[in-house]
Subunit: 253 residues, 2 copies
């Protein structure tokens, strides 16, 4: 729509992005296939006339959804915030949407300025699978015991070494994190595990969800969470829950 | 798995079917493309060894979803109900699921035995569209007035000639129907119109939803519903709401 003009002042744009991750290889651009970042960068390129990096609060894995991922991009945009929001939403596919676009101070950095994040893991807990929940939940046949799951979750809240819950292919060395809260709820067939922390290790929420499901179906005792944490060994915890049940819910600044 | 054997008694199987209609040309088999009926008949053919018709309570249009469509099929099934349920769910794609399979008396006919149906129309009412609700709702930007929509819906409840709300390509002559209830609700961004009747005309729920949206945004007055009904003219009512917001919720027997 315009070139790299200096007619328009340089702005730092904060975007709140919702996406259905089913058809994407996660947030971050990569060679394997289409990502949410790539889609946004391509749309913004059409407006700016050149490529500009769109940086998020953190990457989400392939297939993971977001209710409100936060990202920022700097550029000489020829549109005000409201017009930019409309333009971008009209250019991107239906499974990605911008909830808001806002010009923020230049020092705002979606990743570094983030203070905490909330993730929700959704389990569809019923004898038969659900067509309408298939893209957005993990189907567990065995009736989950909420009381046991809550008791197990309680042992994870606070500052702990979460090495046992870190994706085994991560190279991060400092594995202590502080979980502010974990809530386990049931509403009919949907069981949710919602957790907030200043930071999570790779696949930590999915590994916690996978372990809590083992507790809920009686294969791990709630108090064993203490032993699992102490072991600092990924093999001691439960399986990694599949990506399609995970939602990035909110990022706090 | 077995031929047209007489080893197994003839049973009439009632199935409750959930589907995400996004990828289907509706319920009923047709040349244009994949339908829910075809998927189920092909799976059942693999079990019976021959094709058998799967008849539903009624067809749903292309793109329409179902929480609990009801269908029945007769055959010499070599599996009991529980095993048949598991077998079929393992053979059909993730966007169709069977909630239950039950052997019922031979006279049960999913269409003719149906006493009433409940449909829900879902509107995502917010300034910006929602990626995660895109497949299952109609996005309306203008803030909808619940009070006006409820007042308008009130005029439709009861026995009326709904010719003004019938799809213009329908050849049905008897256009009197009896709406038992219409409920208009809001929960955050989601506005739902849920209606129950012994029978609906073609596209009647989508035409009612489209008209109620016109009322909710102030382009039709609630009391005009009386004039619209009296006109018996499709052109007097509002537009047909798009298929992706419609769900067949329940069929009563």
């Amino acid at each position: 729509m315009t070139g790299k003009g200096s007619r328009h002042p340089l702005r730092n744009i904060k975007m709140v992005v919702e996406y259905d991750g089913t058809n994407y290889f996660g947030w971050q651009s990569q060679a394997k296939g289409k990502t949410v970042q790539t889609v946004l960068e391509e749309a913004i390129e059409k407006i700016l006339g050149h490529r500009a990096p769109v940086l998020a609060s953190g990457r989400t894995d392939s297939g993971v959804h977001a209710l409100a991922q936060v990202a920022n991009v700097r550029g000489h945009f020829p549109l005000d915030d409201a017009a930019l929001l409309r333009a971008l939403n009209s250019m991107i596919p239906y499974d990605i949407s911008l909830k808001s676009v806002e010009t923020v101070p230049t020092e705002f950095n979606a990743q570094k300025s983030a203070k905490w994040k909330t993730y929700r893991y959704v389990i569809y807990n019923a004898p038969e699978r659900s067509a309408l929940n298939a893209r957005t939940s993990w189907h567990i046949i065995f009736r989950l015991d909420m009381k046991k799951m809550r008791e197990a979750a309680y042992h994870l809240v606070g500052k702990h070494d979460f090495a046992s819950f870190m994706g085994s292919n991560s190279s991060v060395k400092q594995t202590v994190r502080n979980i502010i809260s974990i809530e386990v709820k049931r509403r009919k067939e949907l069981v949710t595990v919602e957790t907030t922390s200043a930071g999570f290790l790779k696949q930590m929420v999915r590994n916690i969800a996978g372990t809590l499901v083992e507790v809920g179906r009686g294969r791990i005792k709630p108090e064993e969470m203490k032993t699992i944490l102490a072991a600092k060994d990924r093999k001691k915890a439960g399986p990694t829950a599949p990506a399609q049940g995970l939602f990035l819910v909110e990022v706090g600044y």
